[in-house]
């Protein structure tokens, strides 16, 4: 008990550090607002000629983009928006359930060794660049998936979504959605897996002790615990899908329709891919128009996230 008499010196300061740290944390929070406002303002000012500029010139620009199909900004951007949302939602729909499945498989079903290996593969896949997805999608998947789409068109063609004939090569919304799904799958998986693994053992045991099967335990303890994480992960993934450029650009055969014919080519286009396709050859006014479409995408992301947030708030309240 020798150290009983040790005088423990009063701890050095720390108050300033505390204040500075807090200040920095605040500043970083605010910085997010500032950055976002800057991006918004930038988009807005660059897109300003659409509103404040010469409307005849705008209309000419738009028709030069569309070969005369559209002659004002809205009839240009709305189909693009439709395409963007369609592709992203499809991708999310495909990826969501599969991801949750894999995440659960890794966190609760697979033996430990396998789970570690799988986690590793998933993390790796999350990092595969979209150009590579584009390469793979355009060169490997497109020809490979045609027989499947053809089968779907022949057997499920009565559903408007799958109306045939399936395009060959299948540079279609359906194929792009699959590629995007594969692309965002690791994102959702990786994040949900981390969360699932953190489920308090107490709650898992509580469920099991009530005689819950493994699945019921997951339903009672794991999923509720992971819900907010899953939603965040999905939003992150949706954001990625909404803004994905290269993979869409390299695979999709674009069109400007409000069409849900997933298996046919030249039906829809996404905003991001459209910007990339048009930007290199666009003049000043063209760039303004493209940025205008970017602004719309930005606003849509805002709305989507807002709704998602409200929904989860209601669900958790």
């Amino acid at each position: 008990m020798s150290s009983q008499d040790k005088t423990v010196v009063q701890p050095v300061g720390g108050k300033t550090a505390d204040k500075v740290f807090r200040g920095v944390a605040y500043a970083c929070g605010i910085l997010i607002l500032v950055v976002l406002a800057a991006v918004f303002l930038f988009l807005f000012f660059r897109a300003w000629p659409l509103i404040g500029g010469d409307q005849a010139a705008n209309s000419k620009t738009v028709s030069s983009f569309t070969g005369g199909k559209a002659d004002n900004f809205w009839s240009y951007v709305l189909p693009l928006l439709f395409g963007t949302v369609l592709v992203s939602l499809l991708a999310l729909l495909i990826a969501f359930f599969v991801s949750i499945g894999i995440a659960l498989f890794i966190s609760h079903y697979a033996p430990k060794k396998l789970a570690t290996a799988l986690s590793y593969v998933v993390d790796l896949l999350a990092a595969i660049p979209s150009v590579i997805y584009g390469l793979w999608g355009g060169l490997i998947l497109v020809p490979a998936i045609y027989p499947f789409w053809n089968w779907v068109a022949n057997h499920l063609g009565w559903i408007p979504l799958f109306e045939g004939p399936a395009a060959n090569p299948s540079r279609t919304v359906a194929t792009v959605a699959v590629v995007l799904a594969v692309m965002i799958l690791p994102i959702i998986t990786s994040m949900s897996r981390d969360i699932f693994m953190q489920t308090p053992r107490l709650h898992e045991e509580a469920a099991l002790a009530l005689g819950a099967t493994k699945w019921e335990m997951i339903r009672l303890a794991v999923l509720p615990f992971g819900k907010s994480g899953i939603v965040s992960a999905s939003m992150l993934a949706l954001g990625r899908a909404l803004g994905e450029t290269m993979a869409v650009l390299m695979i999709l055969s674009p069109g400007l329709n409000y069409s849900i014919k997933l298996l046919q080519a030249s039906q829809n286009q996404t905003i991001a891919a459209n910007i990339a396709a048009q930007y290199p050859e666009a003049n000043d006014l063209g760039v303004s128009t493209l940025i205008g479409t970017g602004l719309i995408l930005f606003l849509i992301t805002f709305v989507v996230n807002f709704i998602a947030r409200k929904l989860t708030e209601k669900a958790t309240a």
Binding site: G68, P254, P280
Partner: protein
């Protein structure tokens, strides 16, 4: 710098002979523009550095439009473009160039192939004969079968299958597209009712990004047809296009011939500009009429004398026989016909280096 592939010795010798007249240029120089020029520019940079070892040159293949925009901010020494400058761009350039307005000169000619993939024809190495009207109708979705009488008539010796035609076009804004459809507008306007544009105007078939996208899409399915830069054709079939009474197969030489038979566009505004008005309706023997002319855009005077020196030396090299050969070898382009060279040389002379 680290990792550089030092130029081959033979190159060094060859270039030092022919460009001995000018003092070597040194410094950092940047260009940007048409992605289609990339392969040629790579060869030119390698060749140019052979005689100007202290010149560091970067070319950003960001696209013709973006390249010209960048040039108009003064950030680059030259721009590569698939099309001639627009009037307002010439006007804008006055604020960037030290004096006068920017001008463009052709740097090579590149034939545009109509490529197709059809079992029993393209894989047997055969061409299909078509006239302008047939091609236009196909690309407008009016002809949808490979054994359509319109095609069969022109190809009596081929056995054409009952396969659907899948048209493949560019999905991005492209000079290639504009040149391709301007052939229709000039030769068979009745069959092409769209405005001239760099964007593909209809929704027939499928769109693909870039020349590489078109080529790989065409390769992916039987019955496809598309258009692409000649150098990228590979083992796909190409359409022999009707000129006069003959069907001419694509080749660099055949592409040059149409330019020889074309006039300079004298309606353009601005000094020193050499813009070709392609005579798509040429009847010249052995000519292939669907071609694209690539330009370099420079200023007649630069605020920085070094830039001017470089621009002059660069264009001189590019349009020289040596430069044209380098591009032909590396990018499969057709050389500028002799008739153009003097005009081009005159414009280059206009660049003030002092």
């Amino acid at each position: 710098a680290c990792g550089d592939n030092s130029a081959a010795k033979t190159d060094n010798n060859a270039s030092s002979d022919s460009t001995a007249k000018a003092a070597p240029v040194s410094g950092d120089f940047q260009g940007a523009g048409a992605s289609s020029q990339q392969a040629a520019v790579e060869a030119w940079i390698a060749g140019f550095q052979g005689s100007n070892p202290d010149a560091k040159i970067a070319y950003n293949p960001s696209g013709s439009g973006a390249g010209v925009q960048t040039f108009l901010t003064g950030a680059t020494a030259w721009a590569g473009s698939d099309k001639a400058l627009a009037d307002n761009e010439v006007e804008q350039s006055k604020s960037v160039c030290a004096s006068g307005s920017a001008f463009d000169v052709p740097v090579y000619i590149s034939p545009i192939a109509v490529v197709f993939n059809l079992k029993g024809v393209s894989d047997a190495g055969k061409h299909i004969n078509m006239d302008a009207a047939t091609i236009a109708k196909i690309f407008d979705g009016k002809i949808t079968k490979w054994n359509d009488p319109a095609i069969a008539e022109q190809n009596k010796d081929l056995k054409l299958p009952d396969t659907d035609i899948t048209v493949v076009h560019r999905s991005d804004k492209s000079g290639t597209t504009q040149n391709f459809v301007s052939y229709f507008k000039d030769v068979t306007p009745d069959n092409w009712n769209y405005d001239l544009s760099e964007n593909w105007p209809n929704e027939v078939g499928q769109g693909a990004k870039g020349t590489s996208g078109v080529i790989s899409t065409v390769k992916q399915a039987d019955g496809t047809i598309g258009y692409a830069d000649f150098s990228q054709v590979g083992d796909l079939g190409t359409v022999a296009v009707k000129v006069g009474e003959k069907y001419n197969v694509i080749s660099a030489k055949a592409g040059s011939k149409v330019i020889e038979d074309s006039k300079q566009d004298t309606t353009v505004t601005g000094d020193n500009r050499v813009v070709i008005k392609i005579n798509h309706a040429t009847k010249a023997d052995g000519a292939y009429p669907i071609v694209l002319v690539s330009y370099d855009v420079v200023c007649p005077a630069y605020k920085d004398a070094k830039q001017a020196e470089f621009a002059k030396a660069w264009l001189t090299y590019v349009t020289s026989d040596e430069g044209q050969k380098a591009a032909q070898d590396a990018a499969g382009t057709a050389p500028l016909p002799a008739s153009l060279k003097t005009k081009v040389a005159k414009s280059i002379e206009a660049i003030k280096t002092k």
